[in-house]
Each structure stands twice: as structure tokens, then as C-alpha cells.
Assembly symmetry: C2
Homo-oligomer: 642 residues x 2
């Protein structure tokens, strides 16, 4: 029984089993063309290779290092790990021997860097060698290991090369010695979660249950009393109460995870933790974890999530504040956090399709996450505000370069988020032009998805099978998809008869030539926020399908808060924007405050005059890809339709 | 010609020449009763006396000092200076021998601390003795001196005791040796303006023009090239580009003052500079300064000022950002900055009454500034946001305790802002129950102002003169005062015939028994902001007279952004609130989003239901004096009246 159980229900389709086209395909092309190499180049520019290369002088102690390179952080291994992961996925789509050779060289460096006992962390081997495992709360050692493990798994799967995987498995074996309740072991866990979900991936690729057990150990220990972080600080001669973030909520270590009911602290940490918890819940059929996760899911999605799927409004803790506190202009809403929400949502689907999770996965993906990568794949957002006065722009690199490789690895592997498979069921969670290859009951099944989604809601599935094969095909019907219609081989299917948990489930013996047609009307809709969200009162957000729309100054001129949108937007016209790779814009008749005839005064007793005008709205995730300027998601709502 | 010229037009009435009652009187009572002593107590608790007392061990170098007391700053002399000034004014109203004795003891300490050459600064004598005059940009030495001079002048005027005045005059004489363009002199000025206006006060009380000349020197040198701060940094072995605030705009030293057109940088510094410039413009009849000041005035009041007279929206520089950038919830709007705006405005009245300045003086005083002091005089605001989610509250003390003594010294001396006098004219800038004693052409004149203003707009002036005396009485007619009416001895006076620059000017031979009645209707009014203020679009602020109103949760429950105010507020009812010392509240019928039946979802396609309700608005400066909670100034505007 030290081998991995295979009794969980749904697993994502492996990345190479999905051919991706359409919008996601365009993004993957940009990643193959630019981002994959850009990530590596910028890691190198930031000094990361000098840091891990034992042939070069050690970067020295902390302060000199800052002078030596202003762009590195204690956790640079994680950036390399995520970059390797991105490159690995990109190699499926477009073989790139030169890039692969660069990764091989990095892997060689890591192999040489690894200590005899298996320990591996550039910072604590090269910069602060005496400080290994002295401060799990702040030092990111296991976080870095987690990202290197994810990179190693992906690189092994993409290339068949085991070297980095073996290095990381040795490190994980060493962790098993270090962590535990035995004599001389540490009952600890990392302040920044990540190792948990990475160990699950390592277990799945190696078939070794011991890595799952370690992941579960980290999850089970988190937040228990006596508190590990407190005891560790005392051992290390530090005042346990003196640390920047002041509270263990920052790293979700304030309570045992099964007792947590409110999503708190650093948003990325929270998402990675819940992702790991969901994996462990699936692997161990652990209902106590699932119950906690469902409570946390509701808390996040009904009280703390931007309409973009952005999460974590505050810069101060890169994370959560109070329920219903969702400031727009100062929204932190880190790209990584929305990426993390996609990770979590996808893992909540491990126990079966449910649009409660998949709808949010799609919403976070298409808006909060995808905003993080420019169309050309070369520039990035870290924060994702829902309003900008025109000074927030994509950057080339960031002193904390976590987001670029994070959104890139997600998009480069998006196929595995689109499709999942169980013993006798295929679930389609996300729509988009693509082809998925499955094996059901030992038989090959191919599902060709033909669609222009998310620009158009007509979706066709053509089935090809080796032999006729019985399975269920589950297609998500988004909650917002009013008037969706389904046909099987030309015959209408009554959705109300076949829909379970928001998925239309067609069980039959499928054979080549079978065709399913799903039509999801993509009528623009206005959303109001719960009145407790003070920042959105009297305002509406515009959506079409899964996409949140925004107004940009480049289309509308400055003064976007002068726009007043009526409740009735049935007059909206669509337009394809060539500059945005054919994205669908919405042109809507609005009222608009006149600013030009106001005069010089700052305040007066009469309101501004109002014009009728047409405003153009474009998908939020595409903003700041053209002439930079103001941007606004929540526009003022008129009385019409109220 | 080294004596002070006396040819400027208007000077504020000295503090003891005005008896103040009504609302201002209540505040002064609270200051006499509590604040004056509280300020001194808290300075002592913060370790300031140990710092200046040469009988006690030196606080040591910087870092140990921080451990020694967490509440002191490099510029503590300024806090003592402002506290002494507050106490001095309070002694007119209420003699307090015990408090006066405490000040005398502090003055003795300063006398002992002063160096042989006249230098006086607790930090650079006791903590960093080798660093005198090495970093004018950051070190606040002249700023501290300025506040001690202001304190010394006020204390001398209140008590007749010259000791501190003599100490500070010696220091100023030493400054005259140190600063200038001569051999071995420094052509510098302080990074934090204040010394300029203080030297004007010193010149006025001593009659010594040399202090005016030094103030003018500091103003003239500011921002000139080659830049003093750059040269000083190089001399001191510092990189001139490496400093926290990055730009000389922070201290308004980016350009020579006469070339400055935009109000930039740290708000308090800007206000103190402009106050000094206005004084020098008056004293030297310097039109080049006046022209610059008028441009800066327009820039501030038409593009950068909250409706409360709060200024400086950003915490990052405690100051200004862009034109029309006036965020409400994150508004910094430091109490000191509004106090500084009152200082500046009052000095712009030095060359004659003009409501362009006096209206803003009143607006900043009654709202942005007075909010800084609680009704009981014991707690303080530093930041003054125009919206609070319920977590912004008055504090007992601040690590940078500049605001408490600043608003206190302003209110304790408010009489001198109410009345000004020229050779043949009395100007009444502010209304409020009071009695002013003047001397015109060698004859005593008493003006008794009888009114409940700002709660009621009926104002009566009764004149008492020694003998009949000819002068003009100028009464401000606020720009907002629609329908104001004036009577002289019962006879109506046509305002349009007598109003110049917004002041009704009655020139005649006045005699005892003359009565002037001014009626200023205090009808509530709604204000819209310039549409370029994105944060206020679709919203209105409510004012009545000079007072900005706000809604508080204690009156209205939570969810203040659910309130929608129609343009028509003629149905407003007034109510006197006993808890707020009889302040007039406004009860207005509004629409209000229903939050309780919305359900659990965060976003939905239908708007919230709307109720009719009555909302209560109270004067902004009185908020957070009752049960703490949400507060909102700019409420949503309905379509009514548009």
C-alpha cells in the first residue's frame, strides 16, 4: 500500500493530448514564439543563473547581493521552476532544440548544486548557507522546491528527460527524512504553500504514495498548536511576534486547515493551499477537507472576488481584507492569484463536474488571469485593477517576477483544464477550438471541438472512436447561459432532462461520426454587485459570455466615469477589432457627462450637462494592448431598466 | 531703514482683542479645559522633555533613541513649539498658573540647551551633535526653529515673558550669520518650510526688519540653480539623487518660487511656503510673489482641493498628485494641510478683503481642519478621508504628532482670523458670536457680533465707539450666500451697490448704537464636482452654509453607498443634535438600495431593490464623535433635478 491509489474520479487530460486552436491557440503561439524564451532571458538578466551555477563565485551575503543584482529575490528557484514548466509545455506545440538545450544546461547546474543529502535551494546554499530550515515561515525553501518539482514533472513529461525529476525526487526523499513527528524531525510546513500540490504531481508521475503522504502531512500540520512558527522562531532566537505581516493568517496558518472558514491572508498562498487540499481530498477521499474547501469556496466567491475573478484586493498583504471590500482602482488582484484560483477550481472538479467550480474557473481564467499577459507575449501585469486613471501599464519585468511564468504555464497547459476524463466519462469544462484525445475502457476516442468561442457561442463536437464505446459526455452549461440549446446528431435534447450540477450529461454508446451541437447565446449582460460592495454601488459591469468588458480611453476618450450605461443594453452592437486579434467589442448607446463646457470651477451647484453618445467596450483581459490610457470596468448605471 | 515698514494694508486683530463665543468659543473651552494640557502631557510621555533637558543623559544616537522612545521624531522641537503656542493663546481665555509654570520650565530648559553661538535644536545638539547644518533638505532644523519662534512670539504676547523670545531671537541672529551669499555662508533653506513665516512674526513683534530680510532670502533662494540641496549632498558625501522622496518637488524646491505654477509635493510644506511668500509679498509689496501666489491659489482651489478644503490626497508623499485626483476613501488630506491652507488664505487677505481667499479659508477651517479635533478636545484625526468603511477613527497620539497642536493653535487663536484691520477699515472675514476691539485713528471701536452662525445665518453687529469715527466696515458675503440681505440701523442696503471683491463695504462715520444686520440664508445645497474628478462622478456633496455634511452609520445604519440623493433637497428638515453640542443635522428623503433581500450571491443581472427612506446628514467636522462607523460625504446622485 505504499503505491498511489488510482480510485479518484476525474483527472485532467494530459497537456499533449489536447491540440489547442482559436483564442487559446493564439496565446500558446505567442508563448512559443516569445514568452518562453523571454522568461528565461529575463531570469538570466536578473542574475539567476549566476546564482545557481557552482562554477561561478557565490553571490555573497544578502546585502551585497542586492547591490550585485537588484532584480533577484530569495525565491528565484521558483521563477526558474515556473519558466522551465512553461518551456516544457511549449515544446509540445513547437519543438525548440535551442531552448531545450538551455533548460538542459540549467538542469545540469541544479544537479551540481544539489547537496549530498538531497537539499537544493540556491539561496540557502549560496547566499546564506548556515540558515537551512531555520525559518520556514519566511524563507520559501519548500515553496521553491515545489515550483522546481512542477517544472521537473512537466519537463520529464515533455521531453522524457528524467534528470531534474530525479534531482527533485531525491530532494523530496530528503524532505521525508526532515519533516515529521519523529526524533529530530521538524513538524513544520512552509509559510508559502506550494510544495503540497507539487508533491501530488510528483506522486502522480512517479506513482509513489510517500510523496502524497508528505503533502498530506504538511496540510494536516498547518496551523496546529503548539504553533510550529512560534516554536521555530524561539529556537532561532527571534521574537515570534515581530514579523512584517504580524499574523499567521498571512500564510493561512492561524488555524488548522479543516477549521478555516474565511479566506484570509496572502491570496496566492491561499489558492495554492486550497489547491493542495483539494488534491489531497481527492486522493484520500477526505470529506473533512472537502467540507472545509466548500465553505472557503463560498466565502471567496460570494464575498471576496472581483467580477474579473481577481482576488486579494490589498497591496499591503498581497491579499484579502474584509468581506465585500473590493476597491477597483487600488485593486491588487495579482495575476498569480487568479491563476491560483484557476488551479483551485480545476482541482475542485477532481471529484466530478460541477459548474459551481468550472464557471468560476472560466471567469478567473478569461479575465483576472489572462489580463496578465500581453497579446504579443512580451509584457505583463502584476496587479489587475478594475479602474485605471491611465498610469497602470504592462511591464517588461518585475522585482518579484512571479506572475509572468505563472500565467504562461497556465495558458501553455490550458488543454488539461479544458478536458477531464474518468473511467467512463469525458467532461468538457472549457470551450474553445481544439481536439482532445482520450482513452476510455482501453479504446481511443477523439473529440474535435469546432467553435469560435468565446466570440461566438456555437460549439460543435465531432466524435471519432476506434470502436463504438459507451461513456458519458458531460458539457458545461454556464449558469449565465440563458437559452442554451443542445442537439445530438441533429436532434434536440431537452437540457432540463440531462443537466446535473450544471453539466449536460449524454450517456450512450458513441461511434465515429456522432455529432453534438451546443449553442450558448452570447448576449451581453449587465451585472450589479451585492449592495454591500460599497465600491460598486450605482454601477454595472458588462459581460458577454465569460468575458468581462471594460471601456478604454483609446476608444472613448478620457473621462470614462462620465459614461452612464442604461440597464437596457439590447441595442449593443458587436464589432471585431483587428488590432485585438479579432476580439469582439460592444458598441452601446450611453449618456455621458459633458466635461468640456463645465468651466474652471471645481465644485458647483448644478450638475454637468449630459450628451447621448456611443461607448465602446472591449474584453477586460485585452486592455492596455493598444494606446495606453484610462480604463474602467464598473461604469455608472442609469435609471433605465431599474 | 533697518526697521520694519508699516505700510501694508490689513493685519489680523491680535488674539486677545477678540472675545470668542458660540461654536468657536466651545472649541476654545475644550482646548483650555483639555487639549492644552493633553498636548504637553503627551509630548512629555513621548520623551521630549528628557530630550531637551541638559540635566538628563543624552538620548544617544539615532537607533538607540528609537528604542528609548518609540514616539519621538527628529523634529520634536516643533511639537513643543506648537504646544507652547496653543497654551499661550489658551491663557488669554483662561489663566492657568500651573500650565504656565510648566511652560516656564520648558523655556528654562531651552535656554540652557542653547549653544553659545545661538544654535538651538535638541536633535542636533543631543543626538547627532556633529551633523548641524549638514542636510537642510531632510533635517528640519529651521522648521523646528520656526515653530519655536511662533511659540515664543505667542508666549511673549500672552504673558509678557521674553525669555523664549530672546532665545529664539539669538538663534535667528545666528542664522543671519550662517545663511547668505558671503564667504563661508550657506546659500540654503530648509526642506520643510516654516521658518519663513515664523521670521515674519518675529520681525513684527520685535520690529526688526533683518528677520524679514532673512525670510525673504530663504524664499528667494528656494529652487535656484545651482541647486543648494544637490551641492549640500555632495559636500556631505551623499548621492544627491538617492533620497526617499526622489524629487525636489516634495519640498517645492524644484523651481524658483516665482516660476512655480502647480501646487506640488508635501501639502503642509507647500502651505507654509505660500504663507511665508504671502507675508513677504505684503511686507515688501512684491507683486512678482503675488502673481505666483494667485496662480498657485487657482491651481489648488480649482484642481486639487477636496470639497472639505482638505488637500494632499496621497499618503506616499503626504501631498499632491495629479490635477482632479481626489480619491475619497484613501484621502490623506492631513489636518495640518487644511490648517496650513487657512494660514495661507488669511495671509492672502493681507492686501485687502477678497472672498476668493476668505471663502476658502472658511471652508478649510470648518471642514478639513476642524475635523482634526474631537469635541472633547482629547482625540485627533491626522488623515481626513471623505469616506470611511468604519475603521478610521480619532487617535490619542500619533508617531508624528504634528496635527494636534496645529489645529489647536489655530482654533485657540481663531479671533485673529475672524477680524482684520487697516488704517481706516475693519474687515470681518468669519462670522461667529464674538466681540472685537479695534483702534481706528487712535480711537477705540468695539464690534459686538451676535449670531448663532454657522447654525443660523442671522448676524447682528453692534458698534460701540469712544467718539464717532469714520471707517469702512467690510463684511464678507460668501459666494454661496444666495439671497443675502443687509440692513444698517434698520434700513435695507442694496448689496449690489456696496459689494467689492465679495465684501459689503459700508463707509461712514460710526457711532455707538449703530447696528448692522446681515442675513445669510443657510439653505442646504448640493454640490457637483467637475466631471474630471473621476471619484465624484454621479455623486453629490451636501453643504449648508460653510459646512460640508456627511452621513454616518450611527444615524443611518451601514451601507451608506446605498443612499441616493435626489437633486431636489428642498424637503430637507433641520434638527439640533444635543450629542453634538446643538449642531444642526439635515434629514432628507432619499432612495436607498435594499441590501437585506439581495441574497448570498455577489453579482447578478438585476439591480437591488430600492426603498424610500430618510437619511440624516451631520456636519463633516463632527464625524466620529459618537458611535464609530461608516461615514460618507459624496453620496450617489439620483436623476431628480438633473
Amino acid at each position: 500500500m505504499n503505491k498511489l491509489r488510482q480510485d479518484r474520479q476525474f483527472r485532467p487530460l494530459p497537456v499533449p493530448s489536447v491540440e489547442v486552436h482559436g483564442l487559446f491557440g493564439d496565446r500558446q503561439d505567442a508563448i512559443c514564439e516569445s514568452t518562453a524564451e523571454v522568461l528565461l532571458d529575463r531570469c538570466v538578466e536578473a542574475g539567476m543563473l549566476r546564482a545557481i551555477d557552482v562554477e561561478q563565485p557565490s553571490p555573497g551575503i544578502v546585502i551585497p547581493l542586492q547591490a550585485w543584482s537588484g532584480s533577484t529575490q530569495m525565491f528565484w528557484d521558483s521563477d526558474l521552476g515556473k519558466s522551465i514548466e512553461t518551456i516544457a509545455y511549449s515544446l509540445y506545440r513547437r519543438p525548440n532544440p535551442r531552448l531545450e538545450a538551455r533548460v538542459d544546461a540549467i538542469v545540469d547546474m541544479y544537479e551540481k548544486l544539489q547537496d549530498e543529502d538531497g537539499y537544493l535551494n540556491a539561496w540557502f546554499q549560496r547566499v546564506q548557507p548556515g540558515r537551512r530550515w531555520t525559518n520556514l515561515r519566511d524563507h520559501h525553501e519548500l515553496y521553491c522546491a515545489g515550483h522546481l518539482i512542477e517544472g521537473a514533472v512537466a519537463y520529464y513529461q515533455a521531453t522524457g528527460k528524467r534528470k531534474l525529476l530525479d534531482v527533485m525526487a531525491r530532494f523530496a526523499d530528503y524532505m521525508i527524512e526532515v519533516f515529521g513527528h519523529g526524533e529530530g524531525q521538524l513538524p513544520g510546513y512552509c509559510g508559502h504553500e506550494e510544495i503540497e500540490l507539487a508533491l501530488v504531481k510528483l506522486a502522480r508521475v512517479t506513482g509513489e504514495k510517500k510523496y502524497l503522504d508528505l503533502a498530506k502531512f504538511f496540510i494536516d500540520e498547518r496551523g496546529r498548536e503548539p504553533h510550529f512558527f512560534t516554536e521555530e522562531a524561539i529556537r532561532d532566537g527571534r521574537d515570534p511576534k515581530q514579523f512584517i505581516q504580524k499574523t499567521y493568517e498571512y500564510g493561512q496558518a492561524h488555524l488548522p486547515v479543516r477549521e478555516q472558514k474565511k479566506v484570509v491572508g496572502h491570496a496566492v498562498r491561499a489558492m495554492y493551499l486550497y489547491s493542495g487540499m483539494a488534491d489531497i481530498a481527492t486522493e484520500y477521499n477526505d470529506d473533512s477537507l472537502t467540507t472545509a474547501l466548500e465553505t472557503l469556496w463560498d466565502d471567496l466567491t460570494t464575498k471576496q472576488m472581483y467580477v474579473t475573478g481577481g482576488i486579494g484586493p490589498a497591496a499591503s498583504n498581497e491579499g484579502f481584507t474584509d468581506h465585500y471590500d473590493l476597491p477597483n482602482e487600488s485593486a491588487y488582484a495579482e495575476t498569480c492569484a487568479s491563476v491560483g484560483l484557476v488551479f483551485w477550481a480545476s482541482r475542485m472538479l477532481g471529484r466530478g463536474p460541477n459548474r459551481r467550480y468550472a464557471d468560476i474557473m472560466e471567469q478567473a481564467l478569461y479575465n483576472g488571469a489572462m489580463a496578465g499577459l500581453s497579446l504579443d507575449g512580451k509584457t505583463f501585469f502584476y496587479e489587475n485593477p478594475l479602474e485605471s486613471a491611465g498610469k497602470h501599464h504592462r511591464w517588461i519585468w518585475h522585482h518579484c517576477p512571479c506572475c509572468p511564468p505563472n500565467i504562461s504555464r497556465l495558458l501553455a497547459s490550458i488543454g488539461s483544464y479544458m478536458y477531464a476524463v474518468a473511467d467512463d466519462e469525458i467532461a468538457v469544462h472549457l470551450y474553445g477550438e481544439s481536439k482532445g484525445r482520450f482513452e476510455i475502457g482501453g479504446k481511443k476516442v477523439e473529440l474535435a471541438q469546432k467553435t469560435r468561442y468565446p466570440w461566438d457561442g456555437a460549439i460543435r463536437f465531432d466524435v471519432t472512436t476506434q470502436d463504438p464505446v459507451r461513456f458519458s459526455l458531460s458539457l458545461r452549461i454556464p449558469e449565465w447561459a440563458e437559452g442554451a440549446a443542445l442537439k445530438l446528431n441533429g436532434e434536440s435534447v431537452d437540457l432540463s432532462n440531462v443537466t446535473i450540477d450544471g453539466y449536460a450529461r449524454i450517456e450512450r454508446e458513441w461511434r465515429s461520426g456522432d455529432r453534438v451541437e451546443l449553442d450558448i447565446p452570447l448576449k451581453p449582460r449587465t451585472l450589479w454587485a451585492n449592495p454591500q460592495v460599497r465600491q460598486d454601488t450605482g454601477r454595472v459591469a458588462l459581460m458577454r459570455g465569460p468575458l468581462v468588458y471594460c471601456a478604454e480611453a483609446t476608444d472613448n476618450g478620457a473621462g470614462l466615469n462620465g459614461i452612464v450605461l442604461g440597464g437596457d443594453i439590447s441595442n449593443a452592437k458587436t464589432a471585431e477589432i483587428a488590432e485585438l486579434q479579432g476580439a469582439v467589442a460592444l458598441d452601446i448607446s450611453v449618456a455621458r457627462d459633458k466635461a468640456d463646457d463645465w468651466g474652471a470651477t471645481l465644485y458647483r451647484t448644478s450638475p454637468p450637462k449630459v450628451n447621448q453618445a456611443t461607448a465602446r467596450f472591449v474584453p477586460y483581459h485585452l486592455w492596455d494592448n493598444r494606446t495606453p490610457g484610462e480604463m474602467l470596468v464598473w461604469v455608472r448605471a442609469g435609471e433605465v431598466g431599474r
